[in-house]
């Protein structure tokens, strides 16, 4: 290195490590939101860098909609085990049973329903801080997000009244019942994430790579055909999310660019078989990552509204 200068990835890395250590030192019961997606994979590597040779002093938390890609769940569980971490999973279905949430009539996506589940888990485990992998380049409401994002006792974000965040001096003070969301990757872009995955040789779930999959066309997107429903006792969780007669079905060579659940993730046609291929694809991309996310297309302020209500 010689000239005492950090390149952009090393700068973003040291910034994120600093943030993670602040969290571990300042909060009583912090947790890492770990979905198995590419951003949270980077968070885990950064946590290793921040805390090794000690154990990572935070449990992992994941909120499932019940519509997850099985590849993602498998990867998530395996990675948590490798790292010797405690993984806590709470699901929308549990929340239905406990009466914490009620299904929205006519609404197939359970994206919104993750909010009460997340808030319920925060309450259950008394988490005072949740670390998320959200980035400011993803979406324009997120572009206004702080590293340390304060949430009131109802889990709400008040974008017009955020704490000023100056230098690297993060104000982590909370009153009882209040909560912090912390985003170590705030300044990372989609490209930075993939370059970091390459540099660190991180494993990612197989659905990021090109594979054959049966998809159907809905609302200008190719959505994966959900797995068959084989239980007579339970209602089909994918009711309404299965292709109808007149929706075009097709076997495709495709992959995901960003992962929500099966209902909200558009597949992109792609031959990318390696991290290098993915980086080349991101570099040439002419639509944003979240252009393939059905949950963001609801309205101009879809993300802002969900964040105000307590979304990740």
């Amino acid at each position: 290195m010689g000239n005492y200068q950090l390149d952009h990835l090393a700068y973003l890395e040291t910034e994120a490590i600093h943030v993670l250590r602040e969290v571990a030192a300042e909060f009583e019961r912090p947790a890492i939101l770990f979905s198995g997606g590419k951003d949270s994979i980077c968070i885990l590597r950064l946590a290793e860098k921040a805390f090794r040779p000690s154990e990572i002093p935070l449990p992992f938390l994941n909120v499932e909609t019940g519509h997850e890609f099985p590849e993602l769940i498998k990867f998530r569980d395996q990675r948590a085990e490798e790292l010797g971490a405690k993984l806590i999973v709470r699901t929308v279905d549990d929340a239905f049973e406990k009466g914490l949430a009620t299904p929205t009539p006519g609404q197939v996506s359970r994206n919104q329903l993750q909010i009460p589940v997340l808030l319920g888990a925060i309450e259950e485990f008394q988490f005072d801080c949740c670390i998320g992998g959200a980035r400011r380049d993803e979406e324009k409401a997120r572009a206004k997000e702080r590293f340390f994002s304060f949430r009131d006792a109802f889990g709400q974000w008040d974008p017009k009244n955020q704490r000023p965040e100056i230098w690297n001096l993060y104000n982590a003070r909370l009153n009882p019942g209040e909560n912090m969301r912390v985003f170590p990757l705030s300044n990372w872009t989609e490209m930075d994430v993939w370059e970091y995955i390459k540099k660190e040789e991180l494993e990612v779930p197989s659905i990021y790579f090109s594979h054959e999959r049966e998809c159907f066309r809905r609302a200008d997107q190719w959505l994966p055909v959900p797995p068959p429903h084989d239980s007579r006792d339970k209602a089909d969780p994918y009711e309404g999310a299965r292709p109808s007669e007149n929706e075009q079905r097709q076997k495709m060579i495709c992959r995901v660019r960003t992962i929500a659940d099966m209902i909200s993730t558009g597949m992109i046609e792609s031959p990318a078989e390696s991290i290098e291929d993915i980086i080349a694809e991101v570099a040439a991309a002419r639509v944003t990552e979240r252009g393939s996310r059905a949950d963001d297309k609801a309205s101009e302020a879809a993300m802002e509204d969900r964040k105000k209500a307590g979304y990740f």
């Binding site: 000239n3 005492y4 200068q5 950090l6 390149d7 952009h8 990835l9 090393a10 700068y11 973003l12 890395e13 040291t14 490590i17 600093h18 250590r21 602040e22 571990a24 030192a25 290793e48 860098k49 921040a50 805390f51 090794r52 040779p53 000690s54 154990e55 400011r136 380049d137 979406e139 324009k140 409401a141 997120r142 572009a143 206004k144 974008p159 017009k160 955020q162 704490r163 000023p164 965040e165 100056i166 230098w167 001096l169 993060y170 104000n171 003070r173 909370l174 705030s186 300044n187 872009t189 490209m191 930075d192 540099k199 991309a285 002419r286 639509v287 944003t288 252009g291 101009e300 802002e304």
Partner: protein, 439 residues
């Protein structure tokens, strides 16, 4: 990292100007012309243009992300944007220009290497221009660009550009020195001199705005003189990943100044004990030396009693070490500052109690003249204060080191961040010979 790729530098800049100076339009233009804006974002812009904008695509809508901002056509909060060119990556803080949002400008400017101050060519130098220049200087931003915008509306007049430039140059000497100052005539709306040269300014030699952003020398913006290491977290594994590390005791943190080497003698403050660096541990293996702003874990030869908030420092140059401090602050809360009030003070990795003992002056940031002994400081005021902390802190002057010379005040009870503070250089440095506990 692969050897074939050259390292890409990161430059952080902020943009400031008053309402309608075209800040958001300029960022929109940079994003658009550097192809950092995507088709779906463009579609969304076009959609909202059809609905609300009478068909005119408004580049400002790219950065004005909140509903209230789009409704009122203003920028409320700092928005961060990302631009990449083959030469550099940029993190852009779009900071609002209204008087009442100065606190957001301080936020966006605090981490910037460079400031772009927008000046409307029709209005010339106005109060806001002086205010933004002052805040950029106050926050120690090394590089500044005055982008004289809307040149198309003054017929690309060289005389007008010169007049504005001279107006700014007449007050710059009153501010702290910037490493470099540039003036660029642009039209953010049309794109002239933003990414590509304009044929309308044959009298302007360059560079373009982006050209300057890509080439300005930023390698020396971090402080590499005088090792400072605020301890964030004591790393003591109960169950180490590597069994040979069962007696591992490391001090984890981010280097806030200078360079540290294995074998170097260091001083721990506030205890005043000395030791030597035994190992600089990282996840990727031990290293021989580390520098600001790397995050590392330092092991010392001696098992000193050190906890979060303490600071390891080089013996030369030594920092100040005092509980009686003087600082310049920007007040950021609707409840004014009155002297005698207690706050939490965050400096480095520590949060301690502090009392504002005196408000010495309030600075008129348009005339740069101080008003002596004001009763209080109000939201967005900048003033000189004296503070007493519950224990001495190790610090440098802000002009020497932006990381060890800065603090924030947090209101007790509400936990609101109420002030950003920049410490004056210490009158005297720590004197280890008077309390030498070295083993």
């Amino acid at each position: 990292m692969s050897k074939t790729q050259h390292p890409v530098e990161l430059l952080r800049f902020n943009t400031c100007g008053s309402v309608d100076d075209g800040k958001s339009t300029l960022i929109g233009r940079l994003l658009y012309d550097s192809k950092s804006i995507m088709e779906d974002q463009m579609e969304a812009l076009e959609r909202s243009a059809d609905i609300t904008g009478g068909g005119q695509v408004n580049l400002a809508n790219l950065t004005d992300g909140l509903r209230a901002e789009r409704e009122q056509g203003i920028t409320i909060d700092v928005a961060y944007r990302f631009v990449a060119t083959p030469r550099r990556k940029f993190i852009v803080a779009d900071t609002p220009g209204h008087v009442e949002y100065t606190r957001n400008m301080v936020t966006g400017a605090s981490t910037a290497n460079l400031s772009i101050v927008l000046v409307d060519a029709r209005n010339g130098v106005i109060e806001q221009t002086r205010r933004h220049s002052y805040v950029s200087a106050l926050l120690g931003i090394p590089h500044i660009i005055f982008a004289v915008n809307k040149m198309d509306l003054v017929d690309w007049s060289e005389a007008r550009f010169r007049e504005i430039r001279e107006g700014i140059e007449s007050f710059l000497p009153k501010l702290d020195l910037f490493k470099d100052v540039k003036f660029v005539p642009i039209s953010a709306l049309e794109g002239d001199n933003v990414v590509t040269f304009s044929d309308k300014t044959p009298w302007y030699e360059g560079p373009t705005l982006l050209g300057h952003l890509e080439s300005v020398h930023i390698a020396s913006d971090w402080n590499l003189n005088g090792f400072r290491f605020p301890v964030q977290w004591v790393n003591r594994p109960n169950n180490p990943t590597d069994k040979s590390l069962h007696d591992f005791r490391g001090l984890s943190g981010q280097i806030a100044g200078g360079i540290v080497k294995v074998g170097q003698e260091i001083l721990a403050l506030p205890s005043g004990q000395k030791s030597y660096v035994k190992e600089i541990w990282t996840y990727d293996g031990s290293i021989e030396e580390a520098f600001c702003p790397q995050s590392v874990t330092i092991r010392l030869e001696d098992d000193l009693d050190i906890s979060r908030g303490d600071c390891l420092v080089a013996l030369e140059p030594l920092p100040g070490h005092d509980s009686d401090l003087s600082a310049r602050i920007c007040w950021m809360n609707a409840r004014p500052l009155t002297s005698g009030k207690k706050y939490h003070l965050k400096h480095g990795a520590q949060l301690i109690q502090a009392m504002v003992s005196k408000i010495e002056s309030k600075i008129d940031i348009e005339t740069y003249e101080p008003e002596l002994t004001p009763q209080e400081l109000n939201m967005n005021d900048i003033g000189e204060i004296r503070l007493r902390t519950s224990k001495p802190i190790a610090y440098d002057g802000y002009t020497t080191n932006r990381l060890t010379g800065s603090f924030v005040l947090v209101e007790q009870g509400t936990n609101a961040t109420v002030a950003a503070g920049m410490l004056h250089s210490p009158a005297q440095h720590y004197k280890p010979e008077y309390m030498d506990f070295s083993i």
